[in-house]
C-alpha cells in the first residue's frame, strides 16, 4: 500500500472509515472551477451517497448509465424498463448474455450491477413509466433518461415540469437526457421550469417526413416504398385484424415477400430482408462506443449536480463522430409558447380552406408538435375528440369541414394527445 504524504493524511482522517476511492480526491478538495462557497469533504460524500436517482431505460444507454452511476458513488438507484432482452441487443448492451434473451432488461441489468459493484442497491421495475404517479417520481433527487422513444421522453418531461412547486425546491427534479444515432448523439440537462425543456427543443429532433400514401399506392420508386406498401396496405388487405408483431420473423418474412414481389413488378432493385426489418421497425443504427460517450456524459453531469464539485452542463451537448470528433455545447432557450413549460399560445398560420382532417395530419408532421391522435377544442366547443367513442362519432363530421367553418381568424384552440400529458395552445391565424 502506498503511504500518504502528511498533508493528505490530515484531510483523510475524517473519512478513514470509508473505503478509499479516486472519487475522494475530487470530493475532498476544491478545484479552480468549483464554487468558492462549496465545502468539500464528508458532507458532500454523504449527500452523494444518499441521493436516490432514477434511471429510465435499461438498453444501450441504460446499461452504461447504471454502471457509471454505481462507480460514481451513487448508492440507491432505481431503474425502469418495459422491454425484454433481444439477441440484437448483445452488440452493445453489455450487462446481458445469450442466456438472458427473453428476460426483463431492468431486472437483469439491476442484478448484474448490484453483484459487481459492492455497496450499491439497484431496484428494478419491469414496466412502463406511465404506470407510476407523481408520488413515485417525487422520491428521487434526479432522473437520468436513456430512451429511444420520443413519446416516453415527452411524457416524463411533462410530468416533471408539472411536479414543480415553486414553494418547494425539493420538487424540482433535474432531468438528464441522452440519445444516440450511429456515431452521433446528444446529452442535455433540463431543470424543469428553470430552463428549456424537452418540449421546447422538440423541433431540433424533427421526424423523418413520411412518404405520401398515394406514392406507396400508385407510384413506388424506392425499395422502402415497396416495404411501406406491404407494411401499411398489403397487411391490412390480407391479414386484417391480425396485430403485426415486428419481432415475429414470420411477419417480417411475409412483409419482405410482398415487398419483393411489388418491387419486381415495378422493376425496383434493392429490397432485402435487412432493409425490410429496418424500415418496418424504424431501426436506428446503434453501437457500444457512442452509447459509452453519451451515457458517460449524462452521468458526469449527474455526478456534478449531486456533489457540486464542478459546474454542470448548461444545457446541451451535441456529439458527432462521423467526421473526426466534433462537439457543440450550447444553451438552448426556453420558449414562452412551449406547451409544457410556457404559458403563451403559439401562433400558427393556416389556410382557412384546409379541412380539419388536413389540419390534424399536418399537426402529426410538424416538428414541434408530432401528435398522432390529437383531440381538439376551440374556445367554445369540441372540434374533434378521440375519446370517448360517442364523442368521436359526434365530432367526426367536422373532419371534412373547412377550418373557416369551425373557428374564426385569431381564435385559440387547445390540442391534446392521450400519449402525452401535454396540452398545446394554438392561435390560428388565417393566411395562405
Amino acid at each position: 500500500m502506498v503511504k500518504l504524504p502528511a498533508f493528505l493524511r490530515t484531510i483523510r482522517q475524517d473519512i478513514d472509515k470509508l473505503p478509499r476511492t479516486y472519487l475522494d480526491n475530487i470530493l475532498t478538495k476544491p478545484g479552480p472551477a468549483s464554487d468558492p462557497d462549496w465545502i468539500p469533504g464528508l458532507e458532500t460524500i454523504s449527500a452523494l451517497e444518499s441521493s436516490k436517482v432514477l434511471v429510465i431505460g435499461a438498453g444501450g444507454l441504460g446499461c452504461e448509465i447504471l454502471k457509471n452511476l454505481a462507480l460514481s458513488g451513487f448508492k440507491d438507484i432505481h431503474v425502469i424498463d418495459m422491454d425484454t432482452i433481444d439477441v440484437s441487443n448483445l452488440n452493445r448492451q453489455f450487462l446481458f448474455r445469450e442466456a438472458d434473451v427473453g428476460k426483463s432488461k431492468a431486472e437483469v441489468a439491476a442484478a448484474f450491477v448490484e453483484k459487481r459493484v459492492k455497496g450499491v442497491k439497484i431496484t428494478p421495475y419491469n414496466g412502463k413509466i406511465q404506470d407510476k404517479d407523481e408520488e413515485y417520481y417525487m422520491q428521487f433527487k434526479m432522473v437520468i433518461c436513456g430512451l429511444d422513444s420520443i413519446e416516453a421522453r415527452r411524457w416524463i418531461n411533462a410530468t416533471l415540469v408539472d411536479m414543480v412547486d415553486m414553494e418547494d425546491p425539493e420538487s424540482l427534479k433535474p432531468l438528464i437526457d441522452g440519445g444516440t444515432e450511429g456515431f452521433k448523439g446528444q446529452a442535455r440537462v433540463i431543470l424543469p421550469t428553470m430552463n428549456s425543456c424537452i418540449e421546447c427543443q422538440l423541433d431540433m429532433h424533427a421526424p423523418r417526413a413520411a412518404v405520401p400514401l398515394c406514392t406507396l399506392a400508385t407510384i413506388p420508386r424506392q425499395p422502402s416504398h415497396c416495404i411501406e406498401w406491404a407494411h401499411i396496405i398489403a397487411w391490412e388487405e390480407h391479414r386484417k385484424g391480425e396485430v403485426l408483431d415486428t419481432d415475429d420473423p414470420e411477419h417480417i418474412t411475409w412483409l419482405y415477400q410482398r415487398a419483393l414481389a411489388r418491387a419486381q413488378e415495378f422493376k425496383i432493385p434493392g429490397v432485402t430482408y435487412s432493409l425490410t426489418q429496418g424500415v418496418v421497425k424504424n431501426i436506428i443504427p446503434a453501437i457500444a462506443s457512442t452509447n459509452a460517450i453519451i451515457a458517460a456524459s449524462c452521468c458526469s453531469e449527474a455526478f456534478k449536480i449531486a456533489t457540486s464539485c464542478n459546474p454542470f452542463l448548461q444545457n446541451y451537448m451535441m456529439y458527432s463522430g462521423d467526421e473526426g470528433v466534433y462537439t457543440y455545447t450550447f444553451e438552448t432557450e426556453r420558449k414562452e409558447d412551449c406547451p409544457v413549460c410556457g404559458n403563451l399560445a403559439r401562433n400558427l398560420t393556416v389556410n382557412p380552406n384546409m379541412t380539419l382532417q388536413e389540419f390534424i395530419d399536418n399537426l402529426g408532421e410538424r416538428a414541434e408538435a408530432q401528435l398522432k391522435k390529437p383531440t381538439l377544442r376551440s374556445e367554445e366547443k369540441s372540434l374533434y375528440s378521440q375519446f370517448p367513442q360517442s364523442l368521436r362519432e359526434q365530432t367526426a363530421p367536422n373532419l371534412s369541414k373547412k377550418l373557416s367553418e369551425l373557428v374564426v381568424d385569431g381564435e385559440e384552440i387547445g390540442v391534446s394527445d392521450p400519449a402525452f400529458t401535454i396540452a398545446f395552445k394554438y392561435k390560428l391565424i388565417f393566411g395562405s
Binding site: P19, L71, V87, C299
Partner: protein, 579 residues
C-alpha cells in the same frame, strides 16, 4: 408481351451473427465487420488504466478479432471503485488476468490474452509489436524513453498507435498513423453526395429528356405533374441558354431569375395551386447548377507526387487516384459519375428509366477509369491487378476521399525540448485564443514531463529510502526533491519559452496573455486535484471516443481525428488539433 417468370430468391433469414451485429452492420457493413474481426489490438496499460479497459469493452462488443493486455499490476482497493471489470474477489490478484476474465464474458468469439510485464520491460524488446495491427498506449508512462521507443517502433512498422491520458475531469488522446493513410469510404452526408451532372448532360439523358418534355404544354395534368424535377431543370436550362449565349445561370442573381422561370412553368389551376415536382425543381436550383469542382481533400490527392508519378511499388490508392486524375483532366474537370439518384416525384417507370440512365453512365465512366488503371499496371509492371470493386468504390466516393498524413506523437522529456518545427507557428496563436482547449494538451505534456522527472530522481536515489519513494509514488514529494505538479508546471519549461524559430529551433509554444497562462494553471490544478486518479465517467467517455476512432482506423471508413483530441469534462467540450 411475353410473360417473364421471375424466380424469387431463396428466402433466408439473417444468420445468428447478422442478427447479433445488425445495428452496427447498418453502419460499416460486412467489409467493415470483416476488417474488425481480423484486427489484433494491443493494450499497454498504466496507472489506474480504466480508460484502456473501457476502450476494449467497446471493441469486444462489436467483435474485434483479438486483443492482448500488457499490465503487471495487482488489483488494489482503488481499482475496485473505478474499474467495472473487476470484483471484490479480484483484490490482490493480477489485474490484467482478472480484467480479461470479465471482458471475455461480453463476447466469447474474441480471443483474449494477458501478459504480466511492465511496459518498461516490454519496450526493451519492441519488435514484439510487429504482430499487432493497432496499439493502445495508456499514459502517463513511467518515463519518456519508454514512450519514445514504442512510438518510434510503431512509426517504423506503420502500425497505428493511440496514446491516451485520462485524469480527473480531463482526457487527451493522440493518434499516430502511417505517413499516408487514405480513406475512400468516408460516408459523406447523402444530401451532399448528389452529383447529377446537369450542366454536362450526356446523349442518353438528353434523348430521354426529349421524349418526356417534347410536348410539355399538351401533356395531361397528371403527366405534367409527374415529370421528374431533374428533367424539368434540364428543360428550362435549354430555354435559358437559348437567350443567354448558351450559358447556364452562373451567379446567385441569375439562379434566382432561373428559379422564377422554372416556377412559372408550374400549372396552378388545380386544387393544390401548384405542382410538387415543380416545387422540387425550384428548390434544387441553387445546389444543382454549380459548375463541377473538386473538394480540397481530392485536390491534395491529385497534386501529390505519388499521384502524378506512379511506380510498380505504388499503393492501389495512388494507381486509382492517378486514373481518376486522368479522367478529370480529359473531361474538363468532371469526375466519374457516382450514379446515385435522389428520390423525386415521378411515375415509377420514368424514375426507374432515369435511374438506369444514371447507372449506365456511372458504369461506362468506371470502365474508362478501369482501362486507365489496367494500362498503368502494365506500364509500371504491377501485379496482381487491383480488384474492380476497389476501383468502383473509389469512383463512387472520389469527391470525398481523404488522405491523412500521419505525424509522430510528441514526447515530452525532462531533459530536452520538443522540436515543434512548423507546428509552433500554428499552435502559439491558438494558445492565446480565449476558451481554447489547447492548454489542456500542454497540461498533459507537463504531466508526462513531471513523470519523467520523478523517474529520473527515483533512479538517482537509493531504493532503500522508502519514505521518499513512497511519497514520490503518491505523486507528491514533501521534501522538496520534486515539487507538486502545479509548481513543477510553473517552472522554467513553461513560463519563459521562446517562439522565434529562427533563434531557437525547438521552442515551446508560449502563453503570451495572462488569460492563457491562467487557463493553463487552472487545468494543471484541476489535474493535480485528481491526484492520478481517473473518474469512471470520464474514462468511460474517453473510452467511447477512442473506440470510435479505433473502429474508423481498422475499417478504413468514416473520417478520423487528425491527430490530437482533448476533452474537458467541466465544460463538456472537445477540441481537435493537428499537432
Amino acid at each position: 408481351m411475353a410473360e417473364t417468370i421471375i424466380t424469387p430468391p431463396i428466402l433466408q433469414g439473417p444468420t445468428a451473427k447478422e442478427k447479433k451485429y445488425d445495428r452496427q452492420l447498418r453502419l460499416w457493413a460486412a467489409n467493415g465487420q470483416a476488417a474488425l474481426e481480423n484486427a489484433k489490438v494491443l493494450l499497454l496499460n498504466s496507472g489506474s488504466g480504466v480508460v484502456g479497459v473501457e476502450i476494449l469493452k467497446n471493441l469486444i462488443l462489436p467483435g474485434v478479432g483479438s486483443f492482448t493486455i500488457v499490465d503487471e499490476t495487482n488489483v488494489s482497493e482503488l481499482d475496485l471503485g473505478v474499474n467495472f471489470f473487476l470484483e471484490e474477489s479480484s483484490l490482490g490478484k493480477w489485474r490484467a488476468e482478472e480484467t480479461c476474465k470479465f471482458l471475455q464474458e461480453l463476447n466469447p468469439e474474441v480471443k483474449i490474452n494477458a501478459l504480466k510485464e511492465s511496459i518498461d520491460v516490454f519496450a526493451d524488446n519492441p519488435s514484439r509489436l510487429e504482430q499487432y495491427s493497432l496499439i493502445l498506449l495508456v499514459g502517463p508512462t513511467t518515463n519518456a524513453r519508454v514512450l519514445e521507443k514504442i512510438c518510434e517502433y510503431a512509426d517504423k512498422s506503420s502500425i497505428p498507435l493511440f496514446y491516451i491520458h485520462c485524469q480527473g475531469f480531463f482526457s487527451h488522446f493522440s493518434v499516430q498513423l502511417p505517413a499516408q493513410f487514405p480513406i475512400v469510404d468516408t460516408h459523406p452526408d447523402p444530401a451532399s453526395t448528389q452529383d447529377l451532372r446537369l450542366l454536362n448532360p450526356w446523349p442518353e439523358l438528353l434523348e430521354f429528356l426529349e421524349t418526356k418534355t417534347r410536348n410539355l404544354d399538351s401533356l395531361s395534368d397528371h403527366d405534367h405533374g409527374h415529370i421528374p424535377y431533374l428533367l424539368i431543370l434540364l428543360h428550362f436550362l435549354n430555354i435559358w441558354k437559348a437567350s443567354h449565349d448558351a450559358q447556364a445561370p452562373a451567379n446567385y442573381f441569375e439562379k434566382k431569375e432561373f428559379k422564377a422561370l422554372v416556377e412559372s412553368g408550374a400549372r396552378t389551376n388545380n386544387s393544390e395551386g401548384g405542382e410538387e415536382n415543380f416545387d422540387e425543381a425550384a428548390a434544387a436550383v441553387l445546389k444543382s447548377l454549380n459548375p463541377p469542382s473538386i473538394s480540397s481533400g481530392l485536390r491534395q490527392v491529385f497534386e501529390a507526387d505519388d499521384c502524378q508519378n506512379i511506380k510498380s511499388t505504388s499503393a492501389n490508392f495512388w494507381i486509382i487516384a492517378n486514373a481518376i486524375r486522368n479522367f478529370h483532366t480529359s473531361h474538363n474537370g468532371i469526375l466519374p459519375l457516382p450514379g446515385a439518384l435522389p428520390d423525386m416525384k415521378a411515375q415509377s417507370s420514368d424514375y426507374i428509366q432515369l435511374q438506369n440512365i444514371y447507372k449506365a453512365k456511372a458504369r461506362s465512366d468506371l470502365a474508362e477509369v478501369t482501362r486507365t488503371v489496367r494500362s498503368s499496371e502494365q506500364e509500371v509492371g504491377r501485379n496482381p491487378p487491383i480488384e474492380q470493386a476497389e476501383i468502383e468504390a473509389f469512383c463512387k466516393g472520389a469527391q470525398f476521399v481523404k488522405m491523412i498524413h500521419g505525424r509522430p506523437i510528441r514526447v515530452a522529456k525532462c531533459t530536452a525540448e520538443i522540436d515543434w518545427n512548423d507546428r509552433a507557428k500554428v499552435l502559439s496563436p491558438e494558445l492565446q485564443t480565449p476558451d481554447s482547449l489547447l492548454p489542456l494538451y500542454f497540461a498533459f505534456l507537463a504531466l508526462d514531463r513531471y513523470q519523467d522527472d520523478i523517474d529520473r530522481i527515483q533512479k538517482v536515489r537509493k531504493p532503500a529510502d522508502d519514505e521518499q519513494l513512497n511519497d514520490i509514488m503518491a505523486g507528491r514529494v514533501v521534501s522538496g526533491a520534486v515539487p507538486p505538479l502545479p509548481m513543477f508546471a510553473e517552472s522554467a519549461h513553461f513560463s519563459t519559452p521562446t517562439i522565434d524559430p529562427e533563434h531557437d529551433p525547438k521552442p515551446w509554444p508560449r502563453f503570451d496573455t495572462p488569460e492563457a497562462r491562467t487557463t493553463f494553471d487552472n487545468v494543471v490544478k484541476e489535474l493535480d486535484r485528481a491526484d492520478r486518479g481517473e473518474l469512471h465517467n470520464i474514462a468511460a467517455l474517453t473510452g467511447g471516443m477512442v473506440a470510435q476512432e479505433v473502429i474508423k482506423v481498422i475499417t478504413k471508413q468514416y473520417v478520423l481525428v487528425d491527430n490530437t483530441c482533448v476533452f474537458d469534462g467541466i465544460a463538456s467540450k472537445t477540441a481537435v488539433f493537428n499537432i
